[in-house]
Each structure stands twice: as C-alpha cells, then as structure tokens.
C-alpha cells in the first residue's frame, strides 16, 4: 500500500530521517515506535506531504507520490492525525467533521447562489454522516460545542472522527492515545479495530504505550536515530535486544513497562 524507499530528510545538519525504508501492507495496522527524536513524526510528515524529502521516494499503491501536497494526498485517500490534536477551534464539533469531505457543492460561490437545492441536499448527507461518526465515538453530548473548548482526550477522538468522514485508504495516527485515560483509550482502540475490519482501513500509528501497540498492531516498525531498527510482531520486537537498548539505554534489559514513554 505504502512503500517508502531509502528516505532522507535532513534539517541543516540534523538527519531526522536517515535512509529509512518501510513498507505498510494493505489492511494492516502497522505500529511505528521508537525513542523520542527517532524521526517517526518527521517520517509521517514526509509521507503526508508536509515536507519534501531531501532524497528518497514515497509510493502509494505503486504510484510515486513524493512531494505531493497534503491536500493532493488527501484526495488520494491518505489521511493523518496530529500528535498535538488540531481542531478548528471556532467551529463546533459537528462543523469540524462536516468540514472534512471535499468537493462539496457549497464550496463554490456559483453553486451557493444558484444551486442551493443541491448544496442543501449534500449538506444534509454530510450532516447525517457527521452525526453517525459522533454517535460512533460517543461524543453526542458535545456535538454542538466549539471544538476549542473540548478536553484533550475529546480532541483526540475528534481527530479520529475526521478520518471516518471519508473513505480513507490509509490513515496515519500520530500518538492518538497519548494523554488519554484508559477507558477512552479502549474506546479509541475499539474504533480503530472496527474501522480496520469493517471498512478495510489501513492504519499506521505512532504510539508509545506498549499494551496498546500489542493489542492493535502487527507488524511493528522500530525506528531509532532516523533509521529503521527492526520490523516484526509486537512480542518479537519487544524482546529484541537492540530495541530495548534503544529505548531504555544499556544495562536495563527488563521488558518495557506499561506506560513507558521513553
């Protein structure tokens, strides 16, 4: 589905991503872990089109999409969420969700004036979809709140909700579970599994919570210092000496504990 080929992203002297090659299979939930500064988010940003890589290529379904803008990638079904939840703070939760689907007729001045019927019909459709998502995520009670007033966890849910508004091919989740309590984390985990099974979404997620990773992800890619360290099943990866060393430093060989955030 996604193939990243020998990708380099340098900022001045810093090699944030240093020759990384990864592959994400269709229908998988791939985990991406690694200590802070390993280049995970930079890799996401390059794949999602925020940065043009110094060198290397990104392929989506075999097609070279390197250097396309985030907007163009969105059109191709590549969605992402942000590590620090982003929202349109002056719009309500429902409006935030309704913003997602593209090419709505109401977007052109011409249609707004002269085809108000079409505009309204499409808007009703999008609204129904938004309400469905709101229900799925169990955030009906805040549907009409301004998104800026939500709690951190609710903003994360809203981020996930955005990806459900369209038929995404692949969704990149950047620490969707960080700073979220256990119950909510389970809700998010269930939502991800359901989307994966019922709608065939492919996921790639950066996460630090090993239990969460273990429950959802297969395979897990481990990055350190801009390079891919290893790829494998969660328990294999967590037993890997090199991974433990990268995460915890030398001398500590015990299995990473729940909630370890390196």
């Amino acid at each position: 589905m996604i193939r990243v080929d020998n990708l380099n992203m340098h900022f001045g002297g810093i090699r944030a991503v240093d020759g990384a090659s990864i592959e994400i299979a269709k229908g998988s939930i791939t985990g991406l872990i690694g200590p802070n500064g390993a280049g995970k988010t930079t890799l996401f940003n390059v794949i999602a089109g925020h940065y043009t890589p110094t060198s290397g290529h990104v392929y989506l379904d075999g097609e070279d999409v390197t250097g396309l803008s985030p907007h163009e990638l969105f059109h191709q079904g590549l969605l992402r969420t942000f590590q620090i939840a982003h929202e349109f703070s002056t719009l309500t939760v429902r409006e935030n969700l309704m913003m997602v689907p593209d090419n709505q007729p109401g977007e052109t001045l011409w249609d707004t004036w002269f085809k108000s019927g079409t505009v309204r019909a499409r808007e009703a459709e999008v609204r129904a979809k938004a309400d469905e998502v709101i229900e799925f995520l169990e955030i009906s009670h805040v549907a009409n709140e301004l998104a800026g007033n939500l709690s951190g966890g609710q903003k994360k849910l809203l981020e996930l909700g955005r990806t459900m508004m369209v038929d995404a091919k692949i969704v990149f989740l950047d620490e969707v579970g960080a700073g979220v309590n256990r119950t909510l984390l389970n809700t998010i985990g269930d939502a991800i599994l359901r989307l994966n099974r019922e709608r065939g979404y492919t996921f790639c997620m950066i996460e630090h919570d090993m239990d969460f990773i273990g429950r959802l992800c297969d395979p897990v890619i481990v990055m350190a210092e801009g390079k891919v360290l290893t790829v494998g099943k969660p328990d294999e990866v967590m037993a890997n000496e090199a991974v433990i060393e990268a995460y915890l430093g030398r001398g500590l060989k015990n299995k990473p504990q729940r909630g370890v955030t390196a």
């Binding site: 907007h71 969105f74 349109f88 002056t90 719009l91 913003m99 109401g106």
Partner: protein, 337 residues
C-alpha cells in the same frame, strides 16, 4: 429647550451624519483588509489602490452609461455601473494573486515578504489608475443630490438650524448595512464561509480536510475586491474621486482594522466608526454648538476646533499608535474571523 434641540440638529448635521457615512466607508474598507489578513495572513497595502482601481472602473462605466443615455432616476448612475466595476476589480485581484502572491505562497514565504509584495502591487495599481483616468478630481455623482434639504427640514420643524441628508450618505449607510449583513451571513452560514474560517483558524488542518486552499484564497480575493470597490465608489459618491486621496485612505483603514483587532470582521466595523467619529469630532469647530448650549455670556470666542481639517489623518495616526502601544490586539481581542 429649542436651543438644545437646535444644538442637537447642528451636531447631527455636521458630526453625526457625516461621521456615520464616512465610518461606513472605512468599515467596508477595513473589512476587506481584515479578511485578507485573516485568511492570507498579511497586511495588504494595495487595498487603498484596489479601491481606487475599482472605483475608476466604475466611473468609466458610468461615463459609458451616460454616453448611451442611461440614468438611474433619482439614484446615481454609478450604482448601476457598480456591479461591473466589482467584476473588473475581482478579475484584477485574481490575476494579481496568480501572478504575484501565488508564487510566494508556494515558497511558503514569511508574511513580511507578502507585505512587501503588496507594496509593489500598490504602486502598480496606482500607476494603472492614473494612466487611465489621470490624477485629477472626478465627480461622478448624479441623480437627486439630497434626500432631505436644509430648507425642507427648517420648514418641517420650525427650528433655526437646518439638517441635510445627502443621497450619497443615505446610500452609503444602507449599502454598508446590507453588505455587512451579507458578509456575516456568508462567513457564518455557508460552507464556503466556514471553509474560510477553518482555513484561517488552522491552516495545517485545513490542508488535510476537504478544503481546497486555492479556492479559499480565490474567494477571499473576490470578497476583498468587491468590498474595496463598494467602499471606494461610496466614498467617491460622497466626496469625490482622486487617486491620491484613495492612497491616503490606507491609513484610516488600517487604523480601523487594527483598533478593532485585525483579522476580526466585527472589529473592523467598530474600528471604522471609532476612527470616523474621532476624526470628524476632532476637526469639527465646536463654537456654534457650545454657543447654543451655554448661557450667552459664556459663549467661546475662538472656533473651538481641536485640529485643522488638513491634519485629519493625524487622528488616525494617533489612534493607531495609541492602540498599538496600549492594546495591540485591538478591542475585540481573541479569535480571528
């Protein structure tokens, strides 16, 4: 008692009504500046000359209509020409964006680069306007000049002081209310307006939604060009059209936008009226008014004018400086659009 009534009439005639119409013109101008700032994140210095250009186009079409023998009854013919003037201004704005600003957007240039580019665009518009219409004064208001004449008012009320309402003043206020209502409805209720607000709120996220950034930018320019032309034509009808005066209007317009909090439509409108009222009140000779309300022996000898009208732009300047020092975020601080 009649003295007080006379004083109020005097004040309405020379302060309230002129400031109201001038304030409406500034508000419309500032609304355009604020929209550009909110969505494209730079201060568009070419806005004053965009007003001049749009107004010039409208005047020329008005002349064309006159030549064809078309008039608009008691209303100025320019109102008929206005939609065409707006279309021309929109086209110019879109071409400018494509030729100039799009390049810098692609480069992800800093806002100050955009501002400098807009200064260049300003000089260009400036030159184009002068090539076509010259630097001189153009009066293009026709139709009925007054809605209410001084004599009619005096006969009607029996007061000594007269009150006149010019057609252009009435049109200005009516058009301003209609346009502002429209812009607010547009921003709050339509999908396009929401997309603009969303884009202004969080550009990164907007790029990852179904919002087409090119479209949002285009619509912003279309709105700004329309607002600029409307403001320019109203100002020209009310006073007269001279390219240099429009260039100078940039100062009160920016003062208005900044007083209200740049990037905020509501602030732009409030700011327009604050600046207009300050300007008119500071340059008004209060002698007549004071003479009417105080006992005869306390009447002032001088004009009681705080500042000569030649210095009226100083008022905007002072307001601008004070606001930037005391409350840089403007009165309505907080969110952009």
């Amino acid at each position: 008692m009649t003295d007080i009534l006379n004083a109020l009439v005097l004040l309405s005639n020379f302060v309230l009504i002129p400031a109201l119409s001038y304030g409406s013109q500034l508000a419309l101008g500032a609304l355009g500046v604020t929209l550009i700032y909110a969505v494209l994140r730079f201060s568009n210095f070419a806005h004053g000359d965009m007003m001049a250009l749009g107004t010039m186009a409208t005047i020329m079409i008005t002349w064309g209509l006159h030549a064809m023998g078309v008039s608009f009854g008691p209303l100025p013919t320019a109102l008929l020409a206005l939609p065409f003037g707006i279309l021309i201004a929109m086209a110019v704005a879109l071409v400018t964006d494509r030729a100039v600003y799009r390049f810098y957007r692609k480069q992800r240039s800093a806002p100050v680069v955009f501002v400098m580019a807009s200064v260049g665009v300003m000089f260009m518009y400036n030159a184009i306007t002068r090539i076509f219409i010259g630097t001189g004064d153009q009066r293009f208001a026709d139709g009925e000049r007054f809605v209410l004449k001084v004599n009619e008012f005096k006969e009607l009320t029996g007061l000594d002081q007269g009150l006149a309402i010019r057609t252009s003043q009435l049109i200005t206020v009516v058009v301003m209310v209609a346009v502002v209502a429209f812009v607010f409805w547009f921003l709050q209720k339509t999908r396009t307006g929401k997309a603009m607000r969303a884009y202004s709120d969080n550009e990164d996220l907007a790029l990852l939604s179904g919002i087409n950034p090119d479209r949002v930018v285009r619509i912003t320019w279309i709105l700004a060009a329309a607002l600029a032309t409307i403001a320019g034509v109203l100002y020209g009808l009310d006073k007269s059209f001279r390219p240099f005066v429009y260039f100078q209007l940039l100062l009160p317009i920016f003062a208005s936008a900044i007083v209200g909090g740049i990037g905020q439509p509501l602030g732009a409108i409030a700011g327009g009226f604050i600046v207009a009222f300050s300007e008119v009140m500071v340059t008004y000779a209060w002698k007549g008014f004071i003479t009417l309300i105080v006992p005869a022996d306390m009447a002032p000898e001088g004009l009681v004018q705080l500042l000569g009208t030649d210095y009226k732009f100083a008022v905007s300047f002072i307001i601008l400086v004070v606001v930037l020092l005391v409350r840089p975020t403007g009165i309505f601080k907080g969110r952009v659009i």
